[in-house]
């Protein structure tokens, strides 16, 4: 009942005309930027952060909700129409969706992805609304050592457990942790890794890192391998609408995708790749039209798209209740909170319920707006896709640097941006994952201060980490999650040598 009252209150905040306008602008901008090839939701949020600088926190977070869902929707449009998924979570969608577009069924593919996203987003947001207060009650009992242990779990799962190579994932994480050390130590006021450069005393800006790694890195990478393959846009031919048969084949995958996406997203495990691929393989197994898979089966678009959106709402559960970002996009959302000095977590639910519940209610509204706006506007989004590549990337880089120029127009800050761009390019080229760097930069300093607080309370006794049963359990989980990929790889190698 408490949840209903809180949610109703949030709705009252969200339907104020100004807030509705912010949500609409967010959805529109989010889709417009997210639809550009090579731009995923994380970069969409990072690029649009400067637009929200001058708004009040409530309005800006509501706009963020719209940008987030809009960016997700735009990404799947790109995946379907030109087969360049902006992020790995859209890869499963591109698999069947692009085939459908090639077969002249781009309209139904876009429709099932839009309606599936709406269904999944709505169910998952309801899940978020009910799960969040429960988790908050649980989280207020957390001591600093428990938080530290929880962050260790997030570090390991984000970098090592689910990636291609645990070593490369951990390398990315530690680069992020190193960047997080730069600046004045909050407890003693001493400068670390600042090398006497005043601009470094404040630490590395999350947006500078994210825009450098994602936008500049991607542009450099695409430019460096432009000679390999040209992108091709599939025109949307025929009817936009789904036939009765399409509906019949879509609704179960939507629901199953949601069931995969939300729980996995809500666990501090990060990443939407796992649920989308789980959903894809499930639909492939359950379908009555197995011959269509690989040639454009609508189930293969409906399921993964729903899973993708549901897990996006799922990642908001640890983000809002524990302050724990488990994906690059969630990390950017956290940066959005931090620009107003707000720290998501149990305290925020108690101190600013209007803000948190206004945001959750706006997610519902953004979802409805996306459904109403996007199918009719699909022609506009296709036109955006047709911008010639040189101008497209030149424009992206202008917007990317503009955020930094507006916030801190110093030579040092811009050089850092360029340096992160080169880092992002090299990481793409040598196949290091990007998200762990951003998560490391954001969570590293928080984890350190929690650990130091725990040790100060225990008068320096490190056993405090094991005396709390919660933190001992979480550290155990982190250890298992760290070792699992190595053990499983060993097993895999054993199997391979048997063949």
């Amino acid at each position: 009942m408490e949840t209903f009252a809180a949610l109703a209150h949030g709705m009252a905040v969200a339907v104020q005309p100004m807030n509705l306008l912010y949500a609409l602008i967010g959805v529109f901008l989010g889709t417009a930027v997210g639809v550009l090839p090579g731009i995923g939701p994380a970069l969409t949020v990072a690029l649009l952060l400067p637009v929200t600088y001058k708004l009040d926190p409530g309005g800006s977070l509501i706009m963020f909700a719209g940008i987030y869902y809009g960016g997700m929707y735009g990404g799947s449009t790109t995946a379907i129409l030109i087969n360049t998924p902006g992020e790995s979570a859209s890869m499963a969608t591109a698999l069947e969706g692009n085939k459908m577009a090639k077969a002249g069924r781009g309209g139904p593919a876009l429709a099932t992805s839009a309606i599936g996203s709406f269904v999944a987003g709505t169910i998952a947001t309801i899940g978020l609304a009910f799960l969040a207060p429960w988790l908050v009650d649980f989280a207020v009992r957390f001591g600093p050592e428990d938080y530290f242990a929880l962050m260790c779990v997030a570090f390991v799962t984000v970098s090592a457990t689910f990636g291609d190579s645990p070593i490369r994932g951990l390398t990315s994480l530690f680069v992020g942790l190193t960047l997080g050390l730069i600046g004045i130590d909050k407890l003693t006021g001493q400068a670390r890794l600042a090398f006497g450069i005043p601009e470094l005393l404040d630490g590395v800006e999350v947006t500078t890192l994210a825009v450098g790694l994602f936008a500049l890195g991607e542009a450099l990478y695409v430019a460096s391998r432009r000679h390999h393959a040209e992108e091709k846009i599939e025109p949307v031919r025929g009817s936009l609408w789904m036939t009765k048969e399409d509906w019949k084949r879509s609704w179960k995958p939507w629901l199953r995708g949601t069931m995969f996406g939300f729980p996995i997203g809500a666990l501090p495990a990060g990443g939407a790749e796992i649920p989308t691929f789980l959903s894809y393989s499930t639909e492939k197994r359950l379908t009555k039209h197995p011959e269509e898979f690989g040639k454009g089966a609508i189930e293969g678009v409906a399921g993964p798209e729903a899973a993708n959106n549901a897990s996006a709402a799922g990642t908001l559960v640890p983000l809002l209740t524990l302050g724990l970002p488990t994906s690059a996009t969630a990390a950017m959302m956290l940066a959005g909170f931090q620009q107003y000095g707000l720290n998501p977590g149990p305290l925020l639910f108690a101190e600013r319920p209007d803000l948190v519940w206004g945001l959750i209610a706006s997610l519902f509204i953004a979802n409805v707006m996306l459904l109403v706006l996007n199918l009719p506007l699909v022609g506009l989004w296709v036109k955006l896709l047709a911008i010639p590549q040189p101008w497209l990337y030149a424009g992206i880089l202008v917007f990317a640097t503009m955020g930094t120029i507006a916030a801190k127009p110093s030579v040092v800050e811009l050089s850092m941006l360029a340096g992160f761009g080169v880092l992002g390019f090299l990481m793409r080229r040598f196949d290091f994952p990007i998200a762990p760097v951003v998560v490391g930069l954001i969570l590293g300093p928080i984890a350190e201060s929690q650990l130091r607080r725990a040790l100060a309370i225990s008068l320096g006794d490190p056993l405090v980490l094991l005396q709390s049963s919660m933190s001992a359990t979480l550290l155990g989980i982190a250890l298992i999650a760290l070792l699992a990929p190595f053990v499983l790889k060993g097993l895999g190698r054993f199997k391979a040598s048997e063949d």
């Binding site: 450099l220 430019a223 391998r225 101008w391 030149a394 360029a418």
Partner: protein, 161 residues
């Protein structure tokens, strides 16, 4: 930078991997060197120098792990890259930083980046692109400066507006 051959032949030492491992080791060294300059003032628990050392140890272990991967040739295969395009964009970024640093203003700086990036993606119409860039960045400047009241750096062109 050439394509790596597939199969057995790729199981040889990867030089880029050696560079990555060395870079991680150097980074670990810098962390330890910097941590040693911090004063330990905390009575109980960890001082500010503890975490950098922990991270440095992690980086050191990962440097060894990356070194082993490189020696075994375990790096994922790479396609050839076009260094000219990368250098053009980087040149554009250097120009942007220089123009902002010297007070040339937002419009000139972003226009320079626009033209070089466009060239990196294969356009050869530098004059036309310059015109497009100037118009676009002027519009962005006006939108952000007047509508959102964000202050962007001003130079000779901005003062004319």
């Amino acid at each position: 930078m050439t394509d790596l051959p597939q199969g057995e032949a790729s199981r040889r030492i990867d030089r880029a991997g050696l560079v990555i491992a060395a870079a991680l080791a150097v980074l670990a060294g810098v962390l330890v060197w910097d941590a040693r300059q911090l004063a330990t003032t905390t009575m109980y628990g960890m001082g500010p120098e503890a975490m950098p050392v922990v991270v440095a140890v992690g980086l050191g272990i990962l440097a060894i792990a990356n070194l082993i991967d490189a020696l075994r040739g375990n790096l994922p295969p790479r396609e050839s890259a076009d260094p000219r395009a990368v250098l053009l964009i980087l040149g554009g970024l250097v120009l942007l930083i220089a123009i902002i640093g010297l007070g040339g203003g937002f419009i000139l700086a972003t226009s320079a980046l626009f033209v070089t990036t466009s060239a990196a993606f294969g356009r050869r119409a530098i004059l036309a692109d310059s015109a497009i860039a100037l118009v676009m960045s002027t519009l962005i400047y006006l939108a952000f400066d007047r509508l959102l009241t964000l202050s962007l750096p001003t130079g000779p062109l901005e003062r004319l507006l």
